[in-house]
Each structure stands twice: as C-alpha cells, then as structure tokens.
C-alpha cells in the first residue's frame, strides 16, 4: 500500500509499505494491506512504517489519518 506523511511545511515521507503503526488517540494501532476506509485522529507519538528495506520511524505531534483504496495519508499536526 502507498503511504504519505504530510506536514504543512513539507512532504515528510512517500512510498510503499507493508505495515504502518500509528499512535491513535485511543491507543496504538496498525494498518495492513487492504484495510477498510478509515478516518481517525492521532496523539503525540511515533509512526512506524515497515518497508521492504526495513523499518522507519517518525515523530508526530498529533494529527489526522485517512485510509482509502490502499493509500494511507497521515497529516502530521
């Protein structure tokens, strides 16, 4: 699935991933391929992205996530 992390200042990450771990406001959760459409909010924490070449982590200060058609868009606050 495609993953995008956007901030108002720049595009932080864009690429393919097999798993995304997110710090939801009601607890951490993960997103795998073919997840159902979802809109949710994030708390302060770490976003973990598993790609073919390994795992990357990003710090976010809250935000919003949309999952649609195998595309995860993370709006970092």
């Amino acid at each position: 699935m495609k993953v995008e992390i956007l901030s108002p200042e720049k595009n932080i990450f864009e690429g393919e991933a097999s798993y995304v771990g997110l710090p939801g406001t009601d607890g951490s959760f993960g997103i795998l391929n073919n997840h159902a459409p979802l809109i949710t909010t994030l708390a302060k924490g770490q976003v973990r992205i598993k790609t073919d070449s390994g795992e990357q982590t990003f710090e976010v200060n809250g935000g919003t996530v949309e999952v649609l058609n195998n595309k995860v868009t993370i709006l970092a606050g």
Binding site: L6, E9, T25, I39, T40, G77
Partner: protein, 292 residues
C-alpha cells in the same frame, strides 16, 4: 564652471552606487521570493487533504455547534495585522496599516478593537495606540518572521482560539497581503473566528468510512488544526508578497536610477564641452591680443 563639473561628477558616482544597491536588493528578493513560493507549494497538498477529510467527516454533521463556530454579538474584536519586518517594499506595509485603521474606524466603529501585530512594521504603527495588544503572548509575537514555522504560527493561532473560546473576543480577523503574482498583492481581510462554514464540495460521500472514535471528536480535532493552517497560510502568503513587492519596488528604483544617470551624464558632457569651448575662446582671444 569647473566647480559645476565636479558636482555633477560626484552626483553620478552616488547615483551609480545607489543603483548598484537597488539592483542587488532586487536579486536577493527574487531568490527569496522563489523560496517563499516553494513554501506555499509545499503546504498545498496538506491543506487540500485536510479540507477533503473535513468535508467527508462533517458532510452530515451540523458544524455550527463547536466552540469555534459560535456566533456572538460582536463587541470585542481582535485584528491580526500581518506586515513585514523591513521596509523598502513600496506600499506593502502601508496598505495593511491603512486597512486596519479603516476597520477600526468604519466596520468596527464603537467596538472594542485590539490589534495583534505580526511583523515589525505593524508593531511600529500600532504599538503607540490604545488598540495595541500582546496579551497572552509570552514573547514578542511580531518577531514571527524571524522563524516562520507551522509550530510558531500555530502557537499564535492557539492563543487567539483560547481567547475566543473564553469569550474575550467575539470575532478574530486576519489582515494580510495575499499573493497573486510577483507583481501583485491584494490586501485581504479574512475572518478566522468564528469559523466560516465553507461551501464544501460533497467529498467522496459514496465511501463508507470507519470513524474512530466518532465524527464529532474528529471534527473537534481537525477544526483547530485548520484554523492554525489558515493563519500559517496567511503568513506564508504575506511573506511571498513581501518579497514580490520589494522586487517590484527595487526594479522601479533601479529603472529610475538609470534614467537619472542618463540625464546626469548628458548634463556633465554639456558642461564639459562648454568649459572646453570657453578655454579655446580664451586662448584665441589671448593670441589675437598679442598679434594685435
């Protein structure tokens, strides 16, 4: 006559160096303008996505209920005036100051208006008036352009939001130069609070989203963020406009200096010729007197 020559020569030198300075400033502004425009482009995908999500979430919600959308009778107004830190950019800052004064005198006449200055020029114009405020801000908010980040812009917006929520202000407006193109800026007055419901295009309503935890809480989370983004966008726009305005102003100044230089050179050459003719006349006259 020789004194006149010397005077013109020194004026030519001074105009020449002035032109060099204005030309350099124009180049610097052009480079900074490009960077400022990049920043606007960088923000656009984020802004569009946020708007889209907001439209999707709130399509069936009555969004006129949140703390930031309450319409109260307008008595206390906060005007956020965005100018630059430096001058030499034509009427750029003056337009903002004029518009804010017009708002105080006309639109909000008789109301209690406070002005929050972002940018040194606005601060200079209003810090001596009774409208000036920096209440609630720990440091000097007008220095925001020294370090223009979403975090810093967000802090200013957050303070304004909490003041609105506490009913300290009934309306918050932003006055700034919106960026049209490098040579054009428009003075815009935008209402920041209460939130104006935008005519939302009806998102991809066909998709059945799962909302976690629920629509209301997501909207409550997104709206403050979109308000912060609105202020950040105004600041970025103003920043790009500033460099555009300075570029135009410096271009004009360079042109004027070139014209002036042309005229001065003409005067200089005329004076030089006149003095040479004079000398010849004197020599011929002297020789004639000897022969006679």
């Amino acid at each position: 006559m020789a004194g006149g020559l010397k005077e013109v020569r020194s004026r030519i030198t001074s105009v020449q160096s002035t032109r060099q300075i204005t030309q350099a400033m124009k180049m610097v502004s052009a480079a900074k303008l490009r960077r400022a425009q990049d920043a606007i482009t960088q923000m656009r995908p984020y802004a569009e996505k946020l708007q889209e999500i907001l439209a999707n979430v709130s399509s069936t919600l009555d969004s006129s209920e949140g703390v930031y959308s309450v319409e109260r009778e307008v008595n206390n107004v906060l005007v956020i005036a965005i100018t630059s830190n430096r001058g030499l950019c034509g009427a750029f800052n003056n337009n903002i100051v004029k518009e804010v004064k017009r708002l105080i005198a006309d639109d909000y006449a008789g109301k209690n208006v406070h002005v929050l200055s972002l940018g040194k020029k606005a601060s200079d114009a209003f810090s001596k008036t009774s409208h000036h405020t920096t209440e609630g801000y720990s440091d000097t908010p007008y220095e925001i352009f020294d370090d223009l980040t979403f975090g810093n812009a967000g802090d200013v917006a957050t303070i304004a939001m909490s003041q609105f929520a506490d009913a300290k202000y009934d309306r918050v407006v932003v006055v700034y130069n919106s960026f049209k193109n490098a040579a054009m800026q428009d003075v815009s007055t935008e209402q920041m609070l209460p939130v104006v419901a935008k005519a939302e295009k009806g998102g991809s309503a066909a998709t059945e989203y799962i909302f976690e935890p629920n629509r209301e809480e997501i909207v409550e989370n997104i709206i403050p963020n979109s308000i912060r983004l609105q202020l950040f966008k105004a600041l970025l726009d103003s920043h790009a406009s500033e460099h555009g305005a300075r570029m135009t102003a410096m271009h004009k100044a360079t042109d004027n200096a070139s014209d002036l230089l042309k005229e001065l050179k003409l005067t200089y050459n005329k004076a030089r010729q006149a003095s040479i003719t004079n000398e010849i006349l004197e020599i011929v006259g002297g020789a004639e007197a000897l022969n006679g």
